[in-house]
Symmetry: C2
């Protein structure tokens, strides 16, 4: 029962995908360890430059001959007014003061630059013959889909509701990740609103499975063999797990981030736009709490992300969890600090018994 059409398509032994967590978590060691252990390793390439992406793909090829994938952020349009930028920027000064760092002059990222980088990332995925490419924050254009498919690359979209999953199938993509409200990190909604997108997996998986014929991959709060079996019962063909891999030894997550997850309770995570301008689930900390009253002063993604970069960086280098983005799904009490091999074996042993 653990192999199916999707595992055949992705050329993996087990229906487990390591979520493409961006921001330094998906080291080459993590991705290769996942793929070497029969699951699918994924590079979270959202914040990587084309050159960094190419370098990492080549590193991973040295470490594994198995299948792996790349995840890209579809660039979003955004509008910012100068006075809004000034207000948001000034608001962030108080946090720099608390971290004893100087006020930087953050620059609004260029829209053309983001689009150019994305197109170059696509070129690299093709050149390097990466077997699988997934997308979040939207869907690629028909032209890009057609180009990637011509090169035999398997395409996976990310949906938070039935309507988004149907849009992904309609575009001819090969599979859909359904992101439940339990999921840590950024929300992938692109048609539905944030509020509409908060559907729990117990509801989301069967409703999507009834409406699309492409394979469904469940994501959100899944940590062990119980979550895998449940997802399959509900109609998924595989699971995508983030938090469970984040606390693994091979992950590049900051030790303070790993420890925060290992200490957290089920009710300790919250949605915030404060770090990046896009809604994401993480463990509540000082930055989230203090920004709650300034919801109206948060800039859109990716501008807010650029503006908080020095704060997150300083907080990390000071081993201070107060201003770091401690992304986590809703099942932190099920997280363990172990190797990728131990995690995957633990899941498979349970699932084969069940």
């Amino acid at each position: 029962m653990l192999t199916n059409l999707l595992t055949n398509l992705l050329k993996i032994n087990y229906p487990i995908i390591q979520a493409p967590m961006a921001g330094g978590i998906t080291t080459s060691n993590l991705v290769a360890a996942v793929s070497n252990n029969g699951a699918l390793g994924m590079i979270g390439a959202g914040y990587l430059s084309p050159a960094q992406l190419q370098k990492q793909i080549r590193e991973i090829k040295e470490l594994t001959s198995n299948s792996f994938g790349v995840n890209l952020f579809v660039p979003n349009d955004f509008q910012v007014k100068e006075d809004e930028v000034d207000i948001a920027s000034n608001l962030l000064h108080q946090f720099r003061a608390q971290l004893n760092i100087e006020n930087d002059q953050s620059v609004i990222p260029e829209k053309d630059g983001a689009l150019k980088a994305y197109n170059e990332q696509i070129e690299i995925v093709i050149e390097e013959k990466v077997p699988i490419c997934s997308f979040t924050f939207g869907v690629p254009s028909i032209e890009i889909i057609s180009q990637l498919k011509q090169h035999g690359i398997i395409l996976i979209g990310t949906a938070t509701t039935v309507v988004e999953a149907m849009a992904i199938e309609e575009l001819g993509m090969d599979a859909v990740v359904v992101q439940g409200s339990e999921a840590g990190g950024h929300r992938g909604n692109f048609i539905s609103s944030h509020e509409e997108s908060l559907v729990g997996l117990m509801s989301l998986i069967p409703q999507v499975a009834d409406q699309v014929s492409i394979p469904v991959i469940a994501a959100g709060g899944i940590m062990d063999g119980r979550g895998l079996l449940a997802s399959i019962s509900l109609g998924a063909q595989a699971v995508q797990m983030g938090t469970a891999f984040l606390t693994c030894e091979e992950s590049g997550a900051h030790p303070v981030h790993k420890e925060a997850i290992l200490q957290a309770k089920d009710e300790d995570t919250i949605f915030t736009r404060a770090f990046s301008g896009k809604w994401a689930r993480g463990i509540q900390n000082k930055f989230i709490t203090e920004m709650q009253e300034h919801e109206a002063e948060i800039l859109p993604f990716p501008v807010q992300n650029t503006f908080t970069q020095s704060i997150r960086k300083a907080s990390s280098s000071q081993n201070n969890k107060d201003f770091m983005s401690l992304w986590s799904g809703q099942s932190p009490t099920l997280a363990k600090n172990e190797t990728v091999e131990m995690l995957i074996q633990r899941i498979i042993k349970h699932a084969e018994k069940g």
Copy 2:
């Protein structure tokens, strides 16, 4: 696999509990049909007077000799100031005008009255030898627990987080319903805040199952055999289903309410305090939308509930869904209009295959 310690304890054939939906939905016909078909029927007695409760228990005993249960609301303390009451009351006048009904002079319910009614409900449960009693909105006192246990009544608590489930076990109750964020109707949180309580079942079931040793009953978005099998995989011994029974022929829900669920999509439900003063999930309609900007003017439960009663009643009698509380979980697309027997048989056939 469908019978276990909990089904033995509750004296039922199948690990399925009909959620105790209050407000006229759990007719004697519904409760008896569920129990006669091997699952557990429950009276949602939250809004019933002691006399009404006694009458319904006796009716059900005429219709079934199988096990059934009663659910009670644990009375909450509340504070209201006269000027707040005036503001809230005036705010509601515009909705009465839209329904062409006169402004009533709603009276603030007496706290002593609610407590007295609750104590009388407990007496009736004991006198009528109801085999199972569950509680929402909190936990009963040690005295009441001890009294009910002396009479051999099985006690079930309702939790939304691990800490609440642990509190229920600590009090010596026999089982715990874990209400996921997917669930329709009122939230049962009593220690955790509303925001903290919104944990999806994929996360909630295994985390609770790891921390308590009493049986776990999963509730929220479960509609069919897929949800039952998934819940069992995650560590539950049974499921409690609301929306799935609400649209059944035997349910007392208003036809407009049933139809609204049958037409709704996964993303159409929302949390609101506008109807009762307590957070609850329902299908978004005009009343919810128009009250969203008046969040600060909503009175606490049960005062708001009393004040909106004439509005909900008029909306129902005019077959107008705009001002009715259209409670629904997050899986409305899986709802069907069928008999209780058809629903239960459909679930069991799927689960026995799985």
